[in-house]
C-alpha cells in the first residue's frame, strides 16, 4: 500500500513538473526569460542559429532547413540529404546553409511568410537585408526514400530558383 502511494506521489510530481515545464516552454518570453531562452536555444542539440534575419542577410542566396524541436528520422534524413546535395554550392559561396526551428517564436514571421508547417527546405533570395524571393520545397518529403532522387530534386529546384 505504501509502495502504491509512493509511486502515485512520484508520478503526480512528475506530471506537475512536466506541466510546469511545458507551460514555461509555451509561455511568452520576457526580459531575462528571453535571454535565457536564447542561451538555451544555442546550447540545444538542434543548434538553431539565433537571429535568422541577420543570418539570411549575410548572403544573397540561402537554403534554410526548418525543423521541429523533436527531430524525427525522416526529418534528419531531409536535413542531411539537402546539405549533402547543396555542399558544392555552399563551399563555393554561392549559397548559405541555415537551420531554424519552425516552432520558435523568434522565427514565426519567416514561418508565416514561407508557409512552413513541417520540416522542409526553403530557398531564399535576399537583397539589402530583405527577402526578395523564396521557394518552399515541401515536396522533399516525396523523395526521402532514395538519396540520388532527392539530390536530383534539390539540385533541379536550386537551378530553377537561381535562374528564374
Amino acid at each position: 500500500m505504501k509502495t502504491k502511494s509512493l509511486v502515485s506521489l512520484l508520478l503526480l510530481a512528475f506530471v506537475a513538473v512536466s506541466i510546469a515545464m511545458a507551460i514555461r516552454k509555451v509561455g511568452p518570453s520576457t526580459g531575462s526569460g528571453s535571454a535565457e531562452a536564447v542561451s538555451a536555444q544555442t546550447t540545444t542539440a538542434a543548434a538553431t542559429p539565433v537571429g535568422l534575419q541577420s543570418k539570411l542577410a549575410e548572403s544573397s542566396f540561402n537554403a534554410v532547413y526548418f525543423h521541429a524541436p523533436h527531430r524525427c528520422p525522416t526529418c534528419r534524413k531531409i536535413e542531411s540529404f539537402s546539405q549533402e546535395a547543396l555542399t558544392p554550392e555552399i563551399e563555393a559561396g554561392e549559397l548559405a546553409w541555415q537551420i531554424a526551428d519552425y516552432t520558435s517564436d523568434e522565427n514565426s514571421s519567416f514561418v508565416d511568410q514561407f508557409k512552413v508547417f513541417t520540416s522542409t527546405v526553403v530557398l531564399v533570395e535576399m537583397k539589402d537585408g530583405e527577402v526578395v524571393r523564396w521557394k518552399n520545397l515541401e515536396e522533399v518529403w516525396n523523395h526521402t526514400s532514395d538519396q540520388a532522387d532527392f539530390t536530383a530534386f534539390i539540385n533541379e529546384a536550386w537551378s530553377e530558383f537561381k535562374t528564374s
Binding site: 502504491k4 509511486v7 502515485s8 508520478l11 503526480l12 512528475f14 506530471v15 512536466s18 506541466i19 515545464m21 511545458a22 516552454k25 509555451v26 525543423h67 521541429a68 524541436p69 523533436h70 524525427c72 528520422p73 525522416t74 526529418c75 519552425y102 516552432t103 514565426s108 514561418v111 508565416d112 508557409k115 512552413v116 508547417f117 513541417t118 520540416s119 515541401e138 518529403w141
Partner: protein, 228 residues
C-alpha cells in the same frame, strides 16, 4: 467521377501512410491498449475501436473544413498544434494510465452527487475512445503534418471536398487500431479458456491497459518536454 474515386483512394492511402509512419506508433499503442481494455466483452472492444476511429474522422473533417474554407491558416494551425498540444499529451496520458491502474482513486461515497460523478466516469469509457481519437488526431508530428497539410489538404482543395476526403483520411489513420482490435477479438477465441476460467481477467486487462498508457505517457513526456 473516376478522378474523384482516385482522390478518395489517395486520401485513404495517405491516412494509412500516416498511421504506419514511426511517429504515431506510441499513440497507436496507447489507443490499442485503451480500446481493448474490455476484451472480455468483444462487442465493447469493437465499438470502442469504431468510436476511436470516428473521433479521428471528426477531428480531421473539422480541420479540413476550416482549412479548405480558408477560415484558418494551414501553416499557423499546423505549427500551433505541434507546438502546444504535444507538450501536454504525455502528462494527460500519465493521468489516464494512473486512473486505469487505480493509482488515482475516484471519490467514493454514498452522496447522490458523488454517485452521479462515478456513473458519468463509467459512461466516459466509450466517449473516452472518441475523445482519445480526437486528441491523437490533433497531436501532429512532422510526418503527419506533412501528409495532412501538405498532401491531403491540397487534394481536398483540388477536388473541392472539404469534408469527405479529410474524413476518409481519418478512416485511414484509424485503420491500424481497428484492425488490431478486431484481431484481438478473434484471437481471444484461442485463449477463451483464460477468459472463462480466470475470474480476474478483467483486472489484468485493466492493468495491462493502464500500464501501457502510463508507459506511453512517460515516453511522450520525456521526448516532448525534456528532450526537445
Amino acid at each position: 467521377m473516376n478522378g474523384y474515386w482516385i482522390a478518395a483512394g489517395s486520401a485513404l492511402w495517405l491516412g494509412i501512410l500516416t498511421s504506419i509512419s514511426p511517429c504515431p506508433l506510441a499513440t497507436n499503442i496507447a489507443a490499442v491498449s485503451y480500446v481493448s481494455r474490455n476484451l472480455g466483452q468483444s462487442w465493447k472492444t469493437v465499438v470502442s475501436s469504431l468510436l476511436y476511429t470516428f473521433g479521428r474522422v471528426l477531428a480531421y473533417t473539422v480541420l479540413g473544413t476550416l482549412v479548405v474554407a480558408s477560415l484558418l491558416s494551414a501553416p499557423g494551425l499546423a505549427v500551433g498544434l505541434q507546438k502546444y498540444l504535444n507538450l501536454f499529451l504525455g502528462p494527460l496520458l500519465i493521468l489516464v494510465g494512473m486512473i486505469l491502474l487505480g493509482l488515482i482513486e475516484l471519490p467514493t461515497g454514498s452522496g447522490q452527487g458523488i454517485q452521479r460523478l462515478r456513473e458519468k466516469f463509467e459512461k466516459l469509457g466509450f466517449v473516452g475512445s472518441a475523445l482519445l481519437g480526437i486528441l491523437f488526431a490533433l497531436s501532429f508530428c512532422p510526418v503527419s503534418a506533412a501528409l495532412f497539410f501538405g498532401s491531403l489538404i491540397p487534394l481536398a482543395v483540388k477536388n473541392d471536398s472539404s469534408a469527405f476526403l479529410p474524413a476518409l483520411y481519418g478512416v485511414g489513420t484509424g485503420l491500424p487500431v481497428l484492425v488490431f482490435a478486431i484481431l484481438l477479438v478473434f484471437g481471444k477465441q484461442s485463449f477463451s479458456a483464460f477468459f472463462t476460467k480466470v475470474t480476474h481477467a478483467e483486472t489484468w486487462l485493466r492493468r495491462i491497459t493502464g500500464g501501457s498508457i502510463l508507459a506511453v505517457g512517460i515516453y511522450i513526456t520525456i521526448q516532448q518536454v525534456y528532450l526537445s
